[in-house]
């Protein structure tokens, strides 16, 4: 795994955005080749609409994705197992998840990365739904899928420490990603407060190399002209 440390929340967000952009361009999607982005499933709090509203206002309305290409796990489903199985099938049909982007809750489970109050419900049963999918290595085929975990803020510092400096354990399920070869943890300075100084220094020292992951690539629109001119291969992890 790689740990990317940026100074502030805004820089961490920007680095993460460029990372996603580069992964999409590198993948070279087309009408027959879909780039599948995986996100943590929001677990409904009071009513399901709040999760849909969140996804709409923060993501879907800003891009031109077709509703048919969005799939949301229904955490309120009567038969959660069946819902997960069906979801699993959809992921398989899409060719697997190309890039998974998530954050961690203060309790170490995969969640959205929100600086403020979390959308995620604390009930154990629903939390397990997401972990069931995650713990399933099937989706995280080492060669194909990339994972990016965003962790910002001092209140996440302990979870980050548990995730990368302690061993893999079921209480901090994000720790499972330590072993994943294509995982990037993106955080801000505040989130590193519980890490050892040497860990932080080590990864900061690697920033020169890691920043190549976000170097500007050719624009998909102009790729026809640029590709023929450039013989450089984009940096890949």
């Amino acid at each position: 795994m790689k740990l990317i440390i940026l100074e502030h929340y805004s820089q961490a967000s920007e680095w993460a955005a460029k990372y996603i952009r580069n992964r999409i361009i590198q993948f070279n999607p087309g009408p027959e080749k879909y780039f599948t982005l995986g996100l943590p499933t929001g677990l409904p709090r009071d009513h399901p609409e709040s999760y849909h509203s969140f996804m709409w206002n923060n993501f879907f309305k800003h891009i031109d994705i077709h509703p048919e290409n969005t799939h949301i796990l229904d955490g309120n489903a009567v038969d959660l197992q069946a819902e997960c199985d069906a979801f699993e099938e959809k992921i398989k049909a899409a060719g697997g998840i190309e890039l998974f982007v998530g954050g961690i809750g203060p309790d170490g489970h995969i969640a959205f990365n929100e600086p403020g109050s979390s959308l995620v419900s604390r009930t154990r049963v629903k939390t397990l739904a997401m972990d069931t999918i995650l713990a399933n290595a099937r989706f995280f085929d080492g060669e194909l899928t990339k994972v990016m975990i965003l962790i910002t803020g001092a209140h996440k510092a302990f979870a980050l420490y548990k995730a990368i400096e302690e061993g893999v354990n079921h209480m901090w399920t994000v720790s499972a990603f330590q072993q994943h070869p294509r995982t990037v943890f993106v955080c801000d300075e505040d989130a590193t407060l519980e890490l050892k100084v040497k860990t932080v220094k080590y990864f900061k020292g690697l920033m020169l190399v890691h920043n190549k992951l976000v170097d500007p690539l050719y624009s998909i629109k102009e790729k026809e002209t640029e590709k023929s001119q450039s013989s450089k291969k984009p940096y890949s992890d």
Binding site: H52, W56, F60, D64
Partner: protein, 386 residues
Amino acid sequence: MRGEQGAAGARVLQFTNCRILRGGKLLREDLWVRGGRILDPEKLFFEERRVADERRDCGGRILAPGFIDVQINGGFGVDFSQATEDVGSGVALVARRILSHGVTSFCPTLVTSPPEVYHKVVPQIPVKSGGPHGAGVLGLHLEGPFISREKRGAHPEAHLRSFEADAFQDLLATYGPLDNVRIVTLAPELGRSHEVIRALTARGICVSLGHSVADLRAAEDAVWSGATFITHLFNAMLPFHHRDPGIVGLLTSDRLPAGRCIFYGMIADGTHTNPAALRIAHRAHPQGLVLVTDAIPALGLGNGRHTLGQQEVEVDGLTAYVAGCSMESALEAASLHPAQLLGLEKSKGTLDFGADADFVVLDDSLHVQATYISGELVWQADAARQ
């Protein structure tokens, strides 16, 4: 005509690259329209799983609800108070011409006239939806003849009346059937006005106080009887006095029914009211400000003699728009507040989901670039045409 939100077959229009007035703020959001109404894009996305059929780039401009003019006496040579044979054509002409000013709904106003004029004209101006033909008619505004002699302004003295004898029956006898009437301006100090105000309010007609020498107490009583509007604040009423603020005092009165908002019309042309006075009123009671033109038939015409009801007026010079508040406030004063006054705020004067898609495209100087009614382009500035 207008369809339902669920009209599955209708085309979905998405206006992008714009700032829309919503919740009193200018937000960087897209405006979605279907079946003549503002559409909720989130519902469309998750429930119907559909995208827009057409996208229109607004070039970074402002999208505001269409303007609603509740006091306009005519324009472009048309005088609503003239009892011609074909009143409808005159109204239609004005309705079409005001589209270029961003007005999507209006209340044709009649000044003090003899009963014969009302009996002839009123039935010829029905409520009508707007469209490519012109702005919608929300109903008539009858300003007078039940007003103060002293504060009649440009209204002809010979035709002033009172309803002392038979209250509401007098009013009915003067106006005729009230089906097309939306607003009545009267002076509350006239005898038996309270009966009349109550009767009008009971019929859903908005009662406005104006052309009056009423003191604050009389005005407050009128509000208790049902009055909700003040016709062109400051003009044709007693001036504000610190020991008796008169009708102007309604803006800050604490003796009004709880939760009732008193609206007041202002002619913001810099002439009828000093901008400083306009600002005082706005600061005292910003939610009640309603911008009106009180335009006369000479609107849009050159200098010279023109009629205004039973009188003739000289026109000399131009009018100007005077800004005294934030852009959002000004836009709401021209759209949301008149809609609230008439109880139409669910469908007019707003860009909330489900409202009628009557809106205007404005540049940063608030010049109208395009006007839409029911989601259809009904007017466009020449430069904007492609």
